[in-house]
Protein backbone atom coordinates (compact mmCIF):
# COMPACT_ATOMS: atom_id res chain seq x y z
CA UNK A 1 0.00 0.00 0.00
CA UNK A 2 2.76 2.43 0.90
CA UNK A 3 4.07 2.39 -2.66
CA UNK A 4 0.69 3.42 -3.99
CA UNK A 5 0.66 6.71 -2.13
CA UNK A 6 1.57 9.71 -4.30
CA UNK A 7 2.83 12.88 -2.68
CA UNK A 8 0.94 15.97 -3.87
CA UNK A 9 2.54 18.42 -1.43
CA UNK A 10 3.69 18.41 2.20
CA UNK A 11 0.15 17.84 3.52
CA UNK A 12 -1.71 16.06 0.73
CA UNK A 13 -1.22 12.45 -0.43
CA UNK A 14 -3.16 10.61 -3.09
CA UNK A 15 -4.22 7.00 -3.51
CA UNK A 16 -4.90 6.89 -7.27
CA UNK A 17 -8.11 5.16 -8.30
CA UNK A 18 -5.98 2.76 -10.32
CA UNK A 19 -4.89 1.22 -7.00
CA UNK A 20 -7.95 -1.00 -6.88
CA UNK A 21 -10.47 -1.86 -9.59
CA UNK A 22 -13.83 -0.47 -8.50
CA UNK A 23 -12.57 2.76 -6.93
CA UNK A 24 -14.73 5.55 -8.36
CA UNK A 25 -12.51 8.41 -7.14
CA UNK A 26 -8.99 8.88 -5.78
CA UNK A 27 -8.24 8.73 -2.08
CA UNK A 28 -6.86 11.96 -0.58
CA UNK A 29 -5.04 11.88 2.73
CA UNK A 30 -4.19 14.93 4.83
CA UNK A 31 -0.97 14.14 6.66
CA UNK A 32 2.70 15.00 6.92
CA UNK A 33 5.68 12.64 6.72
CA UNK A 34 5.74 12.12 10.49
CA UNK A 35 2.06 11.12 10.77
CA UNK A 36 2.24 8.94 7.67
CA UNK A 37 4.65 6.62 9.49
CA UNK A 38 1.86 5.78 11.95
CA UNK A 39 -0.81 5.67 9.27
CA UNK A 40 1.16 3.00 7.37
CA UNK A 41 1.03 0.71 10.40
CA UNK A 42 -2.56 -0.42 10.04
CA UNK A 43 -5.24 -0.95 7.40
CA UNK A 44 -6.60 2.59 7.35
CA UNK A 45 -5.30 3.42 3.86
CA UNK A 46 -6.90 0.27 2.46
CA UNK A 47 -10.16 1.45 4.01
CA UNK A 48 -9.78 4.86 2.31
CA UNK A 49 -9.56 2.96 -0.99
CA UNK A 50 -12.62 0.85 -0.07
CA UNK A 51 -14.73 3.93 0.67
CA UNK A 52 -13.97 5.13 -2.88
CA UNK A 53 -16.29 2.32 -4.09
CA UNK A 54 -19.42 4.01 -2.65
CA UNK A 55 -22.10 4.72 -5.26
CA UNK A 56 -22.21 8.39 -6.25
CA UNK A 57 -19.03 9.38 -4.35
CA UNK A 58 -17.68 12.72 -5.59
CA UNK A 59 -14.21 14.30 -5.67
CA UNK A 60 -12.28 12.07 -3.24
CA UNK A 61 -12.47 9.51 -0.48
CA UNK A 62 -10.93 11.78 2.14
CA UNK A 63 -8.91 11.02 5.25
CA UNK A 64 -7.98 13.45 7.99
CA UNK A 65 -4.55 13.30 9.72
CA UNK A 66 -5.97 11.45 12.76
CA UNK A 67 -6.96 8.60 10.45
CA UNK A 68 -6.68 5.06 11.80
CA UNK A 69 -8.09 1.63 11.18
CA UNK A 70 -11.83 1.42 11.78
CA UNK A 71 -14.49 -0.95 10.47
CA UNK A 72 -15.75 -0.18 6.94
CA UNK A 73 -14.77 3.48 6.90
CA UNK A 74 -11.45 4.44 8.47
CA UNK A 75 -11.79 6.58 11.59
CA UNK A 76 -11.05 10.05 10.26
CA UNK A 77 -12.81 9.35 6.95
CA UNK A 78 -14.98 11.77 4.99
CA UNK A 79 -17.01 10.86 1.91
CA UNK A 80 -19.72 12.77 0.06
CA UNK A 81 -22.13 11.19 -2.40
CA UNK A 82 -24.21 12.94 -5.05
CA UNK A 83 -27.85 12.23 -4.21
CA UNK A 84 -29.12 12.91 -7.74
CA UNK A 85 -26.60 10.46 -9.17
CA UNK A 86 -27.68 7.54 -6.99
CA UNK A 87 -25.39 8.61 -4.14
CA UNK A 88 -25.60 6.25 -1.17
CA UNK A 89 -25.71 6.55 2.58
CA UNK A 90 -23.89 3.91 4.62
CA UNK A 91 -24.63 3.29 8.31
CA UNK A 92 -20.99 2.11 8.56
CA UNK A 93 -19.94 5.58 7.40
CA UNK A 94 -21.55 7.05 10.50
CA UNK A 95 -20.69 4.29 12.93
CA UNK A 96 -22.35 2.70 15.93
CA UNK A 97 -21.95 5.71 18.20
CA UNK A 98 -24.11 8.03 16.09
CA UNK A 99 -23.32 11.69 16.81
CA UNK A 100 -20.48 10.91 19.09
CA UNK A 101 -19.25 14.44 19.61
CA UNK A 102 -17.69 16.96 21.88
CA UNK A 103 -18.60 20.24 23.53
CA UNK A 104 -16.50 22.92 25.14
CA UNK A 105 -17.65 25.38 27.74
CA UNK A 106 -15.71 28.15 29.38
CA UNK A 107 -15.57 29.46 32.91
CA UNK A 108 -14.56 32.85 34.27
CA UNK A 109 -12.00 31.20 36.53
CA UNK A 110 -8.26 31.49 36.18
CA UNK A 111 -6.35 28.32 37.08
CA UNK A 112 -4.36 30.13 39.77
CA UNK A 113 -7.60 31.15 41.51
CA UNK A 114 -9.03 27.65 41.81
CA UNK A 115 -6.05 25.28 41.63
CA UNK A 116 -6.65 24.11 45.21
CA UNK A 117 -10.21 23.15 44.31
CA UNK A 118 -9.45 21.00 41.25
CA UNK A 119 -9.31 17.75 43.23
CA UNK A 120 -12.67 18.47 44.89
CA UNK A 121 -14.12 19.34 41.51
CA UNK A 122 -12.90 16.12 39.93
CA UNK A 123 -14.40 14.07 42.76
CA UNK A 124 -17.67 16.03 42.56
CA UNK A 125 -17.92 15.56 38.79
CA UNK A 126 -17.08 11.86 39.09
CA UNK A 127 -19.82 11.43 41.65
CA UNK A 128 -22.46 13.61 39.93
CA UNK A 129 -21.99 12.54 36.29
CA UNK A 130 -22.89 8.86 35.70
CA UNK A 131 -20.04 7.15 33.84
CA UNK A 132 -18.83 3.66 33.03
CA UNK A 133 -20.09 0.66 31.09
CA UNK A 134 -23.90 0.53 31.03
CA UNK A 135 -24.13 3.53 33.32
CA UNK A 136 -27.65 4.73 34.07
CA UNK A 137 -28.72 8.25 34.83
CA UNK A 138 -31.25 9.95 37.06
CA UNK A 139 -32.76 11.72 34.07
CA UNK A 140 -35.71 9.48 33.30
CA UNK A 141 -37.78 9.96 30.18
CA UNK A 142 -41.29 8.52 29.76
CA UNK A 143 -42.13 6.66 26.54
CA UNK A 144 -44.24 9.61 25.38
CA UNK A 145 -41.54 12.12 26.17
CA UNK A 146 -38.88 9.97 24.49
CA UNK A 147 -40.35 10.78 21.06
CA UNK A 148 -40.21 14.47 21.90
CA UNK A 149 -36.58 14.06 22.93
CA UNK A 150 -35.79 12.38 19.59
CA UNK A 151 -37.44 15.19 17.65
CA UNK A 152 -36.19 18.11 19.74
CA UNK A 153 -32.74 16.92 20.84
CA UNK A 154 -30.97 19.42 23.08
CA UNK A 155 -34.07 21.65 22.97
CA UNK A 156 -35.95 18.94 24.86
CA UNK A 157 -33.27 19.10 27.55
CA UNK A 158 -33.47 22.89 27.77
CA UNK A 159 -37.28 22.79 27.95
CA UNK A 160 -36.93 20.39 30.86
CA UNK A 161 -34.63 22.66 32.81
CA UNK A 162 -31.24 21.33 31.70
CA UNK A 163 -29.68 24.49 30.29
CA UNK A 164 -30.73 27.65 28.51
CA UNK A 165 -31.71 28.88 25.06
CA UNK A 166 -28.23 30.28 24.47
CA UNK A 167 -26.80 26.74 24.66
CA UNK A 168 -28.87 25.73 21.63
CA UNK A 169 -27.48 28.50 19.48
CA UNK A 170 -23.99 27.23 20.28
CA UNK A 171 -24.71 23.66 19.19
CA UNK A 172 -24.35 22.25 15.68
CA UNK A 173 -27.84 22.08 14.10
CA UNK A 174 -29.05 24.03 17.19
CA UNK A 175 -28.98 20.67 18.95
CA UNK A 176 -31.67 19.03 16.79
CA UNK A 177 -31.35 17.97 13.19
CA UNK A 178 -34.69 18.20 11.37
CA UNK A 179 -36.16 15.10 9.75
CA UNK A 180 -35.86 12.70 12.67
CA UNK A 181 -38.41 9.89 12.35
CA UNK A 182 -39.18 8.17 15.68
CA UNK A 183 -41.27 5.56 13.82
CA UNK A 184 -38.11 4.34 12.06
CA UNK A 185 -36.59 3.38 15.44
CA UNK A 186 -36.95 -0.23 16.63
CA UNK A 187 -38.47 -1.10 20.00
CA UNK A 188 -35.12 -2.62 20.94
CA UNK A 189 -33.35 0.69 20.32
CA UNK A 190 -35.85 2.49 22.54
CA UNK A 191 -35.31 -0.13 25.22
CA UNK A 192 -31.53 0.07 24.90
CA UNK A 193 -31.47 3.87 25.16
CA UNK A 194 -33.81 4.00 28.13
CA UNK A 195 -32.20 5.37 31.30
CA UNK A 196 -28.99 6.33 29.46
CA UNK A 197 -29.79 10.03 28.95
CA UNK A 198 -27.29 12.12 30.87
CA UNK A 199 -24.65 9.38 31.04
CA UNK A 200 -21.08 9.64 29.82
CA UNK A 201 -20.49 6.00 28.87
CA UNK A 202 -17.05 4.40 28.75
CA UNK A 203 -14.05 3.87 26.47
CA UNK A 204 -12.70 7.11 25.07
CA UNK A 205 -15.58 9.22 26.38
CA UNK A 206 -14.66 11.72 29.05
CA UNK A 207 -15.33 14.90 30.90
CA UNK A 208 -12.27 17.08 31.46
CA UNK A 209 -11.41 20.24 33.34
CA UNK A 210 -8.79 22.01 31.24
CA UNK A 211 -6.78 25.21 31.24
CA UNK A 212 -5.84 27.30 28.21
CA UNK A 213 -2.05 27.08 27.87
CA UNK A 214 -1.45 28.66 24.47
CA UNK A 215 -3.17 31.31 22.36
CA UNK A 216 -2.71 31.14 18.61
CA UNK A 217 -5.10 33.79 17.39
CA UNK A 218 -5.42 36.71 19.78
CA UNK A 219 -8.28 38.35 17.88
CA UNK A 220 -10.39 35.21 17.85
CA UNK A 221 -9.61 34.54 21.51
CA UNK A 222 -10.76 38.06 22.37
CA UNK A 223 -13.89 37.56 20.35
CA UNK A 224 -14.63 34.26 22.16
CA UNK A 225 -13.62 35.87 25.50
CA UNK A 226 -10.79 33.41 26.08
CA UNK A 227 -7.41 34.03 27.66
CA UNK A 228 -4.32 32.21 28.92
CA UNK A 229 -4.85 30.40 32.23
CA UNK A 230 -8.64 30.29 31.80
CA UNK A 231 -10.37 27.14 33.06
CA UNK A 232 -12.51 25.23 30.53
CA UNK A 233 -14.69 22.12 30.55
CA UNK A 234 -14.82 19.60 27.72
CA UNK A 235 -17.38 16.79 27.35
CA UNK A 236 -17.04 13.87 24.92
CA UNK A 237 -19.96 11.45 24.59
CA UNK A 238 -22.52 10.15 22.10
CA UNK A 239 -25.86 8.39 21.65
CA UNK A 240 -25.01 5.43 23.91
CA UNK A 241 -26.87 2.12 23.38
CA UNK A 242 -29.64 3.88 21.47
CA UNK A 243 -27.30 4.77 18.61
CA UNK A 244 -25.54 1.38 18.64
CA UNK A 245 -28.84 -0.41 18.14
CA UNK A 246 -29.94 1.86 15.28
CA UNK A 247 -26.65 1.33 13.48
CA UNK A 248 -26.91 -2.41 14.00
CA UNK A 249 -30.53 -2.59 12.84
CA UNK A 250 -29.78 -0.73 9.63
CA UNK A 251 -26.34 -2.25 8.90
CA UNK A 252 -28.22 -5.53 8.96
CA UNK A 253 -31.02 -4.42 6.64
CA UNK A 254 -28.67 -2.65 4.23
CA UNK A 255 -26.72 -5.81 3.48
CA UNK A 256 -29.80 -6.90 1.52
CA UNK A 257 -29.70 -3.57 -0.34
CA UNK A 258 -26.32 -4.41 -1.86
CA UNK A 259 -27.95 -7.01 -4.10
CA UNK A 260 -31.21 -5.12 -4.55
CA UNK A 261 -29.48 -2.00 -5.85
CA UNK A 262 -26.59 -3.84 -7.51
CA UNK A 263 -23.95 -2.17 -5.32
CA UNK A 264 -20.39 -3.48 -5.19
CA UNK A 265 -18.38 -2.61 -2.07
CA UNK A 266 -15.36 -4.59 -0.82
CA UNK A 267 -16.45 -4.68 2.84
CA UNK A 268 -19.92 -5.57 4.12
CA UNK A 269 -19.59 -2.91 6.80
CA UNK A 270 -19.85 -0.43 3.90
CA UNK A 271 -23.33 -1.76 3.09
CA UNK A 272 -25.40 1.15 1.84
CA UNK A 273 -28.44 2.20 -0.15
CA UNK A 274 -29.19 5.13 -2.47
CA UNK A 275 -30.18 8.14 -0.34
CA UNK A 276 -33.50 8.35 -2.20
CA UNK A 277 -34.42 4.70 -1.58
CA UNK A 278 -37.03 3.81 1.08
CA UNK A 279 -34.39 1.87 3.07
CA UNK A 280 -32.03 4.86 3.20
CA UNK A 281 -34.83 7.29 4.06
CA UNK A 282 -35.75 5.10 7.01
CA UNK A 283 -32.14 4.87 8.15
CA UNK A 284 -31.63 8.63 7.86
CA UNK A 285 -34.82 9.23 9.89
CA UNK A 286 -33.61 6.86 12.61
CA UNK A 287 -30.00 8.12 12.49
CA UNK A 288 -31.26 11.65 13.04
CA UNK A 289 -33.19 10.45 16.10
CA UNK A 290 -29.91 9.10 17.50
CA UNK A 291 -28.12 12.34 16.61
CA UNK A 292 -30.76 14.29 18.54
CA UNK A 293 -30.54 11.81 21.42
CA UNK A 294 -26.79 12.50 21.59
CA UNK A 295 -27.27 16.27 21.60
CA UNK A 296 -29.82 15.95 24.40
CA UNK A 297 -27.34 13.69 26.21
CA UNK A 298 -24.42 16.14 26.00
CA UNK A 299 -26.77 18.96 27.02
CA UNK A 300 -27.79 16.97 30.13
CA UNK A 301 -24.14 16.12 30.86
CA UNK A 302 -23.23 19.79 30.68
CA UNK A 303 -26.08 20.59 33.07
CA UNK A 304 -24.71 18.03 35.54
CA UNK A 305 -21.21 19.49 35.21
CA UNK A 306 -22.53 23.01 35.86
CA UNK A 307 -24.33 21.72 38.97
CA UNK A 308 -21.09 20.16 40.27
CA UNK A 309 -19.29 23.49 39.85
CA UNK A 310 -22.17 25.23 41.65
CA UNK A 311 -21.87 22.77 44.52
CA UNK A 312 -18.11 23.28 44.91
CA UNK A 313 -18.05 27.05 44.47
CA UNK A 314 -21.48 27.91 45.97
CA UNK A 315 -22.15 30.16 43.03
CA UNK A 316 -24.54 29.97 40.06
CA UNK A 317 -23.13 28.67 36.80
CA UNK A 318 -24.10 31.94 35.16
CA UNK A 319 -21.99 33.84 37.67
CA UNK A 320 -19.09 31.48 36.96
CA UNK A 321 -19.47 32.30 33.24
CA UNK A 322 -20.01 28.68 32.26
CA UNK A 323 -21.35 29.33 28.80
CA UNK A 324 -21.06 26.93 25.92
CA UNK A 325 -18.52 27.76 23.23
CA UNK A 326 -19.80 25.09 20.83
CA UNK A 327 -20.87 21.47 20.41
CA UNK A 328 -19.83 19.44 17.36
CA UNK A 329 -20.77 16.01 16.03
CA UNK A 330 -17.97 13.83 14.72
CA UNK A 331 -19.88 10.67 13.66
CA UNK A 332 -22.72 11.68 11.38
CA UNK A 333 -24.08 11.89 7.83
CA UNK A 334 -25.50 15.24 6.73
CA UNK A 335 -27.25 16.47 3.61
CA UNK A 336 -25.35 19.59 2.51
CA UNK A 337 -24.96 21.64 -0.65
CA UNK A 338 -21.60 22.06 -2.43
CA UNK A 339 -20.49 23.21 -5.84
CA UNK A 340 -19.09 20.29 -7.82
CA UNK A 341 -17.70 20.96 -11.30
CA UNK A 342 -19.38 24.35 -11.32
CA UNK A 343 -22.83 23.03 -10.36
CA UNK A 344 -24.50 23.19 -6.99
CA UNK A 345 -25.19 19.66 -5.78
CA UNK A 346 -27.02 18.15 -2.85
CA UNK A 347 -24.59 15.73 -1.21
CA UNK A 348 -24.75 13.19 1.58
CA UNK A 349 -21.59 13.96 3.59
CA UNK A 350 -20.38 11.15 5.85
CA UNK A 351 -18.08 12.26 8.67
CA UNK A 352 -16.77 9.17 10.44
CA UNK A 353 -14.42 10.53 13.07
CA UNK A 354 -14.34 13.93 11.38
CA UNK A 355 -15.71 17.32 12.39
CA UNK A 356 -17.71 19.85 10.45
CA UNK A 357 -15.56 22.97 9.94
CA UNK A 358 -17.62 25.63 8.17
CA UNK A 359 -15.82 28.85 7.36
CA UNK A 360 -16.72 32.51 7.88
CA UNK A 361 -19.94 33.63 6.23
CA UNK A 362 -21.58 30.20 6.13
CA UNK A 363 -25.33 30.71 6.56
CA UNK A 364 -25.61 27.57 8.73
CA UNK A 365 -23.66 29.33 11.48
CA UNK A 366 -25.27 31.40 14.22
CA UNK A 367 -24.79 35.15 13.98
CA UNK A 368 -22.11 35.17 16.69
CA UNK A 369 -19.83 32.85 14.66
CA UNK A 370 -20.73 34.10 11.17
CA UNK A 371 -17.58 36.24 10.94
CA UNK A 372 -15.13 34.01 12.76
CA UNK A 373 -16.08 30.66 11.25
CA UNK A 374 -17.47 27.68 13.16
CA UNK A 375 -15.70 26.68 16.38
CA UNK A 376 -14.16 23.22 15.99
CA UNK A 377 -13.30 21.25 19.12
CA UNK A 378 -10.48 18.72 18.96
CA UNK A 379 -9.96 16.56 22.05
CA UNK A 380 -6.53 15.03 22.54
CA UNK A 381 -5.40 12.34 24.97
CA UNK A 382 -5.64 12.66 28.74
CA UNK A 383 -1.98 13.62 29.20
CA UNK A 384 -1.31 16.20 26.51
CA UNK A 385 -3.53 18.81 24.83
CA UNK A 386 -6.87 19.61 23.27
CA UNK A 387 -7.63 22.39 20.81
CA UNK A 388 -10.16 24.98 19.80
CA UNK A 389 -10.01 25.74 16.08
CA UNK A 390 -12.32 27.48 13.63
CA UNK A 391 -13.47 26.24 10.25
CA UNK A 392 -12.37 27.85 6.98
CA UNK A 393 -13.63 28.53 3.47
CA UNK A 394 -10.84 26.27 2.24
CA UNK A 395 -12.38 23.36 4.15
CA UNK A 396 -15.68 24.03 2.38
CA UNK A 397 -13.82 23.96 -0.96
CA UNK A 398 -11.59 20.94 -0.32
CA UNK A 399 -13.07 18.66 2.32
CA UNK A 400 -16.84 19.25 2.24
CA UNK A 401 -16.36 21.53 5.24
CA UNK A 402 -14.61 18.90 7.34
CA UNK A 403 -11.52 18.55 9.50
CA UNK A 404 -9.97 16.14 12.00
CA UNK A 405 -11.77 14.99 15.18
CA UNK A 406 -9.06 14.12 17.69
CA UNK A 407 -5.59 12.72 18.13
CA UNK A 408 -6.30 9.31 16.60
CA UNK A 409 -5.20 6.04 18.10
CA UNK A 410 -1.85 4.59 17.23
CA UNK A 411 -1.73 1.62 19.58
CA UNK A 412 -4.34 -1.11 20.13
CA UNK A 413 -6.11 -1.37 23.46
CA UNK A 414 -4.42 -4.66 24.25
CA UNK A 415 -0.97 -3.28 23.32
CA UNK A 416 -1.60 -0.21 25.46
CA UNK A 417 -2.71 -2.36 28.39
CA UNK A 418 0.41 -4.56 28.07
CA UNK A 419 2.85 -1.65 27.83
CA UNK A 420 1.33 0.62 30.50
CA UNK A 421 1.65 0.31 34.24
CA UNK A 422 -1.38 1.92 35.86
CA UNK A 423 0.38 3.26 38.95
CA UNK A 424 3.30 4.65 36.97
CA UNK A 425 0.91 6.34 34.56
CA UNK A 426 -1.18 7.87 37.35
CA UNK A 427 1.99 9.19 39.02
CA UNK A 428 3.19 10.65 35.71
CA UNK A 429 -0.14 12.37 35.17
CA UNK A 430 -0.22 13.61 38.77
CA UNK A 431 3.27 15.08 38.34
CA UNK A 432 1.89 17.10 35.42
CA UNK A 433 -0.95 18.27 37.65
CA UNK A 434 -3.57 15.97 36.11
CA UNK A 435 -6.03 14.20 38.41
CA UNK A 436 -7.83 11.18 36.96
CA UNK A 437 -10.96 9.42 38.17
CA UNK A 438 -12.32 6.46 36.20
CA UNK A 439 -15.02 3.83 36.71
CA UNK A 440 -12.77 1.12 35.33
CA UNK A 441 -9.02 0.96 36.00
CA UNK A 442 -8.63 -0.85 32.68
CA UNK A 443 -9.94 2.20 30.83
CA UNK A 444 -7.07 4.35 32.10
CA UNK A 445 -4.34 2.10 30.69
CA UNK A 446 -6.25 1.49 27.46
CA UNK A 447 -6.55 5.25 27.06
CA UNK A 448 -2.96 6.06 28.07
CA UNK A 449 -1.47 9.02 26.19
CA UNK A 450 1.03 6.70 24.47
CA UNK A 451 -1.91 4.94 22.74
CA UNK A 452 -2.58 8.13 20.77
CA UNK A 453 -0.83 10.25 18.19
CA UNK A 454 0.27 13.65 19.44
CA UNK A 455 -2.72 15.92 18.81
CA UNK A 456 -0.29 18.80 18.27
CA UNK A 457 0.99 17.04 15.13
CA UNK A 458 -2.53 16.33 13.89
CA UNK A 459 -3.73 19.89 14.41
CA UNK A 460 -0.57 21.27 12.85
CA UNK A 461 -1.48 19.48 9.59
CA UNK A 462 -5.10 20.72 9.41
CA UNK A 463 -3.91 24.25 10.25
CA UNK A 464 -1.09 24.25 7.72
CA UNK A 465 -3.27 22.65 5.06
CA UNK A 466 -5.74 25.49 5.71
CA UNK A 467 -8.82 23.33 6.44
CA UNK A 468 -9.09 24.86 9.91
CA UNK A 469 -7.32 27.48 11.94
CA UNK A 470 -5.85 27.24 15.44
CA UNK A 471 -7.47 29.50 18.06
CA UNK A 472 -6.10 28.20 21.36
CA UNK A 473 -4.78 25.09 23.08
CA UNK A 474 -5.77 23.56 26.39
CA UNK A 475 -4.08 21.08 28.73
CA UNK A 476 -5.98 18.80 31.10
CA UNK A 477 -6.25 19.39 34.85
CA UNK A 478 -8.87 16.82 35.80
CA UNK A 479 -10.11 13.83 33.84
CA UNK A 480 -13.31 11.82 34.42
CA UNK A 481 -13.41 8.60 32.39
CA UNK A 482 -15.98 5.84 32.12
Amino acid sequence: MTGMLEKIDDFHWRIPRSYKAGMKVDGLIYADEKLLKDIYHDKALEQVANVAFLPGIVNYSLAMPDIHWGYGFPIGGVAATDIEQGGAVSPGGVGFDINCGVRLLKTNFQYEEIKDKIRDLVYALFSDVPSGVGSKGDIRVSAKEEKQLLLKGAKWAVENGYGCQDDLECTEESGAIPGADPDAVSDRAYERGKAQSGTLGSGNHFLEIQVIDQLFDRDLCDRFELDLGQVMVMIHSGSRGFGYQICEDYSRSMIACLQKYNINVPDRQLACAPVNSPEAKQYIGAMRCAANYAWANRQCLMHLARKSFERIFSMSWQKMGMSLIYDVAHNIAKIEKYVIDGKEKLLCVHRKGATRAFGPGNPALPERYRESGQPVIIPGDMGRNSYLLVGTKKAEEETFGSTCHGAGRVKSRTASTKSTNLNTLLKELESKGIIVQASGRGTIVEEAPSAYKDVNDVVSVVHNAGISKRVCRMRPLGVIKG
Partner: protein, 140 residues
Protein backbone atom coordinates in the same frame (compact mmCIF):
# COMPACT_ATOMS: atom_id res chain seq x y z
CA UNK B 1 -11.12 -18.90 30.13
CA UNK B 2 -8.94 -17.85 27.22
CA UNK B 3 -10.03 -20.29 24.55
CA UNK B 4 -9.62 -17.70 21.83
CA UNK B 5 -7.02 -15.41 20.30
CA UNK B 6 -7.21 -11.64 20.33
CA UNK B 7 -6.74 -9.93 16.96
CA UNK B 8 -4.88 -6.66 17.38
CA UNK B 9 -6.77 -3.70 15.95
CA UNK B 10 -5.77 -0.04 16.36
CA UNK B 11 -9.08 1.27 17.68
CA UNK B 12 -11.10 -1.81 18.40
CA UNK B 13 -10.61 -5.45 19.24
CA UNK B 14 -11.06 -8.72 17.37
CA UNK B 15 -11.25 -12.42 18.17
CA UNK B 16 -10.26 -15.63 16.42
CA UNK B 17 -12.06 -18.76 17.62
CA UNK B 18 -11.79 -22.42 16.64
CA UNK B 19 -14.25 -25.30 17.18
CA UNK B 20 -15.14 -28.74 15.94
CA UNK B 21 -18.44 -27.70 14.33
CA UNK B 22 -20.41 -24.50 13.58
CA UNK B 23 -22.62 -24.83 16.70
CA UNK B 24 -19.53 -24.99 18.95
CA UNK B 25 -17.98 -22.14 16.97
CA UNK B 26 -20.96 -19.90 17.73
CA UNK B 27 -20.82 -20.86 21.39
CA UNK B 28 -17.05 -20.16 21.53
CA UNK B 29 -17.49 -16.75 19.90
CA UNK B 30 -20.17 -15.83 22.45
CA UNK B 31 -17.97 -16.97 25.33
CA UNK B 32 -14.96 -15.05 23.97
CA UNK B 33 -16.98 -11.86 23.57
CA UNK B 34 -18.26 -11.94 27.14
CA UNK B 35 -14.83 -12.91 28.44
CA UNK B 36 -13.60 -9.59 27.01
CA UNK B 37 -16.58 -7.70 28.44
CA UNK B 38 -16.61 -8.97 32.02
CA UNK B 39 -15.25 -11.22 34.68
CA UNK B 40 -17.83 -13.61 36.13
CA UNK B 41 -17.99 -13.79 39.92
CA UNK B 42 -15.77 -16.57 41.30
CA UNK B 43 -18.47 -17.93 43.56
CA UNK B 44 -21.49 -18.89 41.52
CA UNK B 45 -24.09 -18.86 44.22
CA UNK B 46 -26.93 -21.07 43.01
CA UNK B 47 -29.29 -21.09 40.10
CA UNK B 48 -31.62 -18.41 41.41
CA UNK B 49 -29.46 -15.63 40.04
CA UNK B 50 -29.18 -17.18 36.59
CA UNK B 51 -31.44 -16.22 33.76
CA UNK B 52 -32.05 -18.25 30.65
CA UNK B 53 -32.92 -16.47 27.44
CA UNK B 54 -34.06 -18.05 24.20
CA UNK B 55 -32.63 -16.63 20.99
CA UNK B 56 -33.62 -17.18 17.35
CA UNK B 57 -31.80 -15.62 14.43
CA UNK B 58 -31.85 -15.96 10.65
CA UNK B 59 -29.43 -14.54 8.12
CA UNK B 60 -28.35 -14.74 4.48
CA UNK B 61 -25.28 -16.83 5.25
CA UNK B 62 -23.31 -18.33 8.12
CA UNK B 63 -20.95 -15.37 8.56
CA UNK B 64 -23.76 -12.86 8.81
CA UNK B 65 -25.57 -15.21 11.16
CA UNK B 66 -22.54 -15.10 13.47
CA UNK B 67 -22.66 -11.29 13.58
CA UNK B 68 -26.44 -11.31 14.10
CA UNK B 69 -26.01 -13.78 16.98
CA UNK B 70 -23.28 -11.78 18.69
CA UNK B 71 -25.14 -8.49 18.27
CA UNK B 72 -28.34 -10.01 19.61
CA UNK B 73 -26.39 -11.15 22.68
CA UNK B 74 -24.92 -7.65 23.16
CA UNK B 75 -28.30 -6.04 22.77
CA UNK B 76 -29.97 -8.43 25.24
CA UNK B 77 -27.07 -8.06 27.66
CA UNK B 78 -27.62 -4.29 27.52
CA UNK B 79 -31.39 -4.23 27.90
CA UNK B 80 -31.68 -7.03 30.44
CA UNK B 81 -28.53 -5.98 32.30
CA UNK B 82 -27.07 -9.47 32.15
CA UNK B 83 -23.64 -10.90 31.50
CA UNK B 84 -23.89 -14.18 29.61
CA UNK B 85 -21.54 -16.90 30.77
CA UNK B 86 -22.80 -19.96 28.87
CA UNK B 87 -24.70 -20.87 25.73
CA UNK B 88 -26.46 -23.88 24.32
CA UNK B 89 -26.84 -23.89 20.56
CA UNK B 90 -29.83 -26.18 20.03
CA UNK B 91 -30.16 -25.86 16.32
CA UNK B 92 -27.90 -24.45 13.63
CA UNK B 93 -29.26 -25.42 10.26
CA UNK B 94 -28.51 -23.62 7.06
CA UNK B 95 -28.51 -20.00 8.07
CA UNK B 96 -30.83 -20.12 11.06
CA UNK B 97 -30.04 -20.56 14.71
CA UNK B 98 -31.89 -21.41 17.90
CA UNK B 99 -30.01 -21.16 21.14
CA UNK B 100 -30.19 -20.53 24.84
CA UNK B 101 -28.06 -17.93 26.61
CA UNK B 102 -27.44 -18.14 30.35
CA UNK B 103 -26.79 -14.87 32.12
CA UNK B 104 -26.07 -13.37 35.50
CA UNK B 105 -27.00 -9.87 36.64
CA UNK B 106 -24.34 -7.46 35.39
CA UNK B 107 -24.24 -5.85 38.85
CA UNK B 108 -22.77 -9.11 40.22
CA UNK B 109 -19.94 -9.13 37.65
CA UNK B 110 -16.88 -7.00 37.16
CA UNK B 111 -17.57 -5.34 33.82
CA UNK B 112 -14.36 -4.23 32.10
CA UNK B 113 -15.18 -3.14 28.58
CA UNK B 114 -18.19 -2.01 26.63
CA UNK B 115 -18.48 -3.68 23.22
CA UNK B 116 -20.79 -1.57 21.09
CA UNK B 117 -21.26 -4.14 18.34
CA UNK B 118 -19.82 -6.99 16.31
CA UNK B 119 -18.97 -5.68 12.82
CA UNK B 120 -18.88 -7.19 9.33
CA UNK B 121 -15.40 -5.78 8.76
CA UNK B 122 -12.87 -8.58 8.30
CA UNK B 123 -15.57 -11.14 9.16
CA UNK B 124 -14.53 -14.69 8.17
CA UNK B 125 -15.60 -18.27 8.81
CA UNK B 126 -13.53 -21.06 7.30
CA UNK B 127 -12.50 -24.67 7.81
CA UNK B 128 -8.87 -25.61 8.34
CA UNK B 129 -7.22 -28.78 9.60
CA UNK B 130 -10.59 -30.25 10.45
CA UNK B 131 -11.62 -27.27 12.56
CA UNK B 132 -14.11 -24.48 12.00
CA UNK B 133 -12.58 -21.05 12.54
CA UNK B 134 -13.98 -17.54 12.71
CA UNK B 135 -12.67 -14.00 12.97
CA UNK B 136 -14.79 -11.07 14.13
CA UNK B 137 -13.87 -7.43 14.83
CA UNK B 138 -15.84 -5.62 17.55
CA UNK B 139 -16.44 -1.90 17.86
CA UNK B 140 -15.40 -0.96 21.39
Amino acid sequence: MKDYEVIEHTADIGIRVKAKDPASLFKSAGLAMFDIIAEAPHQLSGSAIQQEISIKQEAGNLEELLVFWLNELLSLSNTKELIFFDFKVNKLEGDSLQALAFGRPAKDCKVNVEIKAATYHGLRIWQESGLWQAEVIFDV
